[in-house]
Every structure is written in structure tokens, then in C-alpha cells.
Symmetry: C2
Subunit: 323 residues, 2 copies
């Protein structure tokens, strides 16, 4: 049995707890949190204060780090990797090289393994970009996200004065996707690829038109997109817009000879983004422990890990049943 | 530069020749064939008789074996792996374990690397089955092929007395695929998953109804499917049915908690099946040479090889650009 600790218990941590129940070769040692453990309502797991983690050395094969990329993981992954094998979902794309270097050095020094930036993007989408570009070097790769909830964009709306709560959906332009699949070559702007749809609850007396204008013109988040804003009641938001669906597409269109078109398409349709991400983390936690057993110390990403390491099934059976 | 030999020059071998032209880190040493080399019309490559291959030791980093799975590869892959690193597309699913064992033993003895059973199924589809099942263990995987030409089924029709030529299309049941994507759980028979469509040219005076009946009732090939048969002229067949499109879908539907549905979908839409398969072989030829440089001798499948080995781009750049 692979002994797993969950470090951080929000939506992602809860997703990992659920995923572990589906994996017979893994057992959960406990949830480690900065909150008072008695206030953390798990789904059966024992909760410990984060300070207890280092007392559990020898009882844990891998820590799945479920903190956020903005402030938690840049500190936590290097720190925890000193004493444990770790898996994280660090997803600030621009800072991945720096995060990798830092964690790699610590993992080599402390003879541990850390698999960073797993999940679906970065993660499964990165894999698919790599496979597709390696196989069809003469071609273009396009990534689309959604339809799904973007926490970052929802948060940005919530910070506007007069807004009580909000949910933002990122919506891919399916018309463009179909054209690309048909082999059309397109120069696509940010605005061409995705739309944004916002469901917003206002304080009583807030100015709808002013807030709409503030949203659609917000730099980085909305200004470069076509954005629709709907004002609804708190009841409607809670009833219809509190699920966390997501998904997306990696599309690679290439040619092998003259006009011979070849299209590789990878789609995810997810009812729950955090639970799916958690399931990816759990599979890579298995890979992490195997790499550590083979004394392949250091940092890894999904690009570095042979697919078979993710499976609990032995190599001969995989060849027989999946090839 | 990676020096590549093509062994066997049919549709697949020609596809490899074309693919190599798109890969700047590879050069083609030549095409090796059992035919008289002067009768082999390549697209620029030098042609040699197969007997010359062993004289080229030291000049070739990897041989891409482009023979058939029925009779060529079971003999050729073990034999050529004694002297060279090899890549093949052995696709007789039931015999892969035996082929792997045989080639693995020889590769270890002779300190070479052989990547067997690459292509898209087995190959990329196998990869996707493995990733999906490892991430969502509570779920079902469905593979659909087509719309595309099946050479085996076309050949089976051509062997019927009175048939001059034929093209058979395998057609997936898109209605069933949509239901599965919507999360329905279905018990699917062979007949539910695919249809078969046949375009057949008859000898003058052949009995249409008798031949139609012989086709649709042919065991293994057609009896378990709904099959449509169209009789057409040789001109029509040559004009409309001599391309080799193919493709298909690997669909995995799982749940992460109670009724939370998660769907992973991988699609290929291929204008040319042999050229795409060839492109996969070429990417794995690159991986093969890298594994040999690392002295990781033995047989490998796509399940055993880390994605980064397929790319000519260095690891740091891949992390920066694709993660």
C-alpha cells in the first residue's frame, strides 16, 4: 500500500480524499492543515495540524500538496520535499522553470522525488501538446479552455465594489474549433478563441451599468474578450452557478505531405474541475513513489514520466490488455 | 543527425520517407527492400537490396521496419534487432506479448533497443487508454475506429470469386459515442459500435445478390456487423475510394464521486493512415536512439517511454514552452 498525506484541505484536497477511495493500492494517512484540525470536516480522514507533518516521517510515502500556486506552493513544495516525496499542481505557467529548478535541487540534495505541475493544464494538456508536435512537426497546436468556471476571473469580479458574489465562465469559440478541425489555417486573436460569461450578484442599489462597464473593460481579465454580464439573485447564483465544471481541447492540425491533413484532438469534459485535477495528482503520486523506489531522485514533470508509472497494473498485463 | 534506414518500402515506408523530410534532426541513409533496388521508385532516397543492410553497420542509428505484421515483422524485428536499433508497427494485438518477449531477449543480448508496436492502435490509442484508466479507475474505456479504410476487410472482399476490387470503410456509430459522452452507461455489442460500408467492383456477369450475401454473412469480418454493399465501376472506385483516410476515438467516461461525470476523449482525423502511422514511427525512432545512447537496452512499447524522448527539443525548453 502507498501511504499518502494530503497537505492543504480545500476543494482540491477534498478531491484527493475522494480519489484515494477509488485506488485500492493507496491509503490515506491523514489531512494536514494550517487550520485547527478539529474545525476541518473531512470525509473520514484524520486531520492533523501542519506542524505535525515532520513527526510522521517514515509513515508517509508521498505528500500530495493541495495549496494554491500564488503563495502556498512556491514555499511549500521546496520545504516539504526536504523530508518527503511530493506531488503538486503548480500552475503559474511563467514560473514553472524557476519552480522546477528550485525543487529539483532540493530533491537531489535530500534524495526525494517531486512531481510538479501535474493536473490537466499544465499536465495532460502539456502531454498532448508534446506528443502531437513531436509526431506532426509541420503543424499548429491550439489550446481552448471551457466551457468552465475560472476561479481567477470570478475572484476579479468579486473584488469590484458593489459586487456580492460572481461566477465567470470561459467559453471556447466552437465555430473556430470546427474550422481548425476542417484544416483551415487561421490567425487567431485572444478575442477569437474564447468568450467570457459572467453571473453577478449586486448589493442593493449598486449601479448595474457602471459595474458592467468596469467588468468588460478590466485589463488582462476581460478587456481583450467579448464578455457578457448577467445580473442575478444570490438564490439563482447558488442554485445554478456553484458547480465547478470545466474542460477544454488541445487541437493539433498538421500535414504529412503536400495537402494531406492530419488532426489530433484531445478533449476533457469535466463535471468537477478540482476532483479531476485531484485524480491526476493521485495517479502521479503513484508514479512519484515508484521513481523514489528506483532512486531516481529529483524533480519531474508529466513530460519526464513514462505512462506505465501511473498504473497499478504490472507491465506484462498492460502490454496484453492495453496495447 | 540521427541516421535512419527504412526497411521495406510500401505505403508505410513511403510515409516514413516523407516524414523524415519534416524532421531536421534526421537523415535517411536509404531504403532497403527485397525487390530489385533499381525497380523501386523512391522519392529521392537511395534504394538498396535487403542483403546490403548488414554491410551498413556503423552507418545507421535506427532501422524503421515497414513490413507487415502477418509474416514480415515476426521474423524481421528479431533478426534486425541483432545488429541495429529498431522500431516497428507490429499490430497483431493478441501476439504482442510473444513478440515483445522475443525481441526483448535479443535486444538485451545484443545491446540494442527496439520499440515495438508503435503507430496509433496499438500506439497512441494504447497510451490514451492507459492514461485515462490510471486517472479515472472508476470508469469505462471505449475505442471506436473510423471512418476509415480497413485493408484487411477490403482484402477479404477481394478474395471472393467474381470481385475485381473493393474498398471497405469502417464507420463508428456516432449516436452511441454521443450517448457515452453524455454519461450513459451502455452494454455494447460489436454490432452497436461500428457499421461497415463496402464499395465493390464486379467481373462482368457476376451475381450481385449472391456476392452481397456472401459478404454480409462472412464470419469474423462482416457477420457481426450491419453492412452496406454498393456495386460500382472500376472508374468510380479509382476516383472516389483509393485514398486511405482513417481515424477513431478513445473515449473514457468515469466518475470521481457519486454522480460526478468526467470524460476524456482522444480523436484522430487522418487523411492518410499510412503517413500518420509513419510519423509516429519516426518520433519513436528518435526515442529509440536516445534510449540506446543511455544504454537502456531491450524492447520497449509506447507505454514504457517518457513523452520527452519523442521530441528533438531540450527538456528545459519543453518545460518552458509546453507545460
Amino acid at each position: 500500500m502507498i501511504k499518502v498525506a494530503i497537505v492543504g484541505y480545500g476543494n482540491l484536497g477534498r478531491g484527493v480524499e475522494r480519489s484515494l477511495k477509488q485506488n485500492q493500492d493507496m491509503e490515506l494517512v491523514g489531512v494536514f492543515t494550517r487550520r485547527a484540525p478539529e474545525n476541518v470536516a473531512t470525509e473520514g480522514a484524520q486531520a492533523f495540524h501542519m506542524d505535525e507533518l515532520n513527526n510522521k516521517r517514515g509513515e508517509i510515502d508521498v505528500c500530495i500538496l493541495c495549496g494554491g500556486s500564488a503563495t502556498d506552493l512556491p514555499v511549500q513544495t521546496p520545504e516539504v520535499t526536504k523530508y518527503f516525496n511530493t506531488v503538486d499542481s503548480f500552475d503559474t505557467h511563467a514560473k514553472i522553470p524557476e519552480h522546477f529548478s528550485k525543487v529539483d535541487q532540493i530533491a537531489r540534495e535530500h534524495q526525494s522525488v517531486s512531481v510538479i505541475s501535474t493536473g490537466w493544464d499544465p499536465g495532460l494538456f502539456s502531454l498532448n501538446r508534446l506528443y502531437a508536435q513531436s509526431i506532426l512537426p509541420q503543424g499548429g497546436t491550439y489550446t481552448f479552455w471551457g466551457k468552465g468556471v475560472s476561479q481567477g476571473h470570478s475572484d476579479a469580479i468579486r473584488r469590484i465594489a458593489g459586487v456580492v458574489d460572481a461566477t465567470q465562465y470561459t467559453i471556447p469559440n466552437n465555430e473556430v474549433i470546427e474550422k481548425l478541425k476542417g484544416g483551415e489555417k487561421l490567425e487567431l486573436s485572444t478575442r477569437d478563441k474564447h468568450f467570457r460569461e459572467c453571473y453577478v450578484v449586486l448589493e442593493a442599489g449598486a449601479d448595474e451599468e457602471a459595474i458592467r462597464a468596469e467588468i468588460v473593460s478590466m485589463p488582462n481579465y476581460f478587456a481583450d474578450y467579448d464578455t457578457e454580464v448577467h445580473f442575478i439573485s444570490m438564490d439563482e447564483l447558488n442554485r445554478d452557478h456553484k458547480a465547478m465544471p470545466h474542460g477544454g481541447t488541445v487541437l493539433h492540425t498538421g500535414t504529412t505531405h503536400e495537402a494531406t491533413k492530419q488532426v489530433i484532438e484531445y478533449n476533457l469534459h469535466l463535471d468537477s474541475n478540482p476532483e479531476f485535477t485531484a485524480s491526476v495528482l493521485v495517479a502521479y503520486a503513484r508514479a512519484c513513489v515508484r521513481l523514489a523506489k528506483e532512486k531516481q531522485f529529483g524533480a519531474f514533470t508529466v513530460l519526464d514520466i513514462a505512462p506505465k508509472y501511473l498504473s497499478p497494473i504490472d507491465d506484462a498485463t498492460l502490454r496484453k490488455e492495453l496495447l
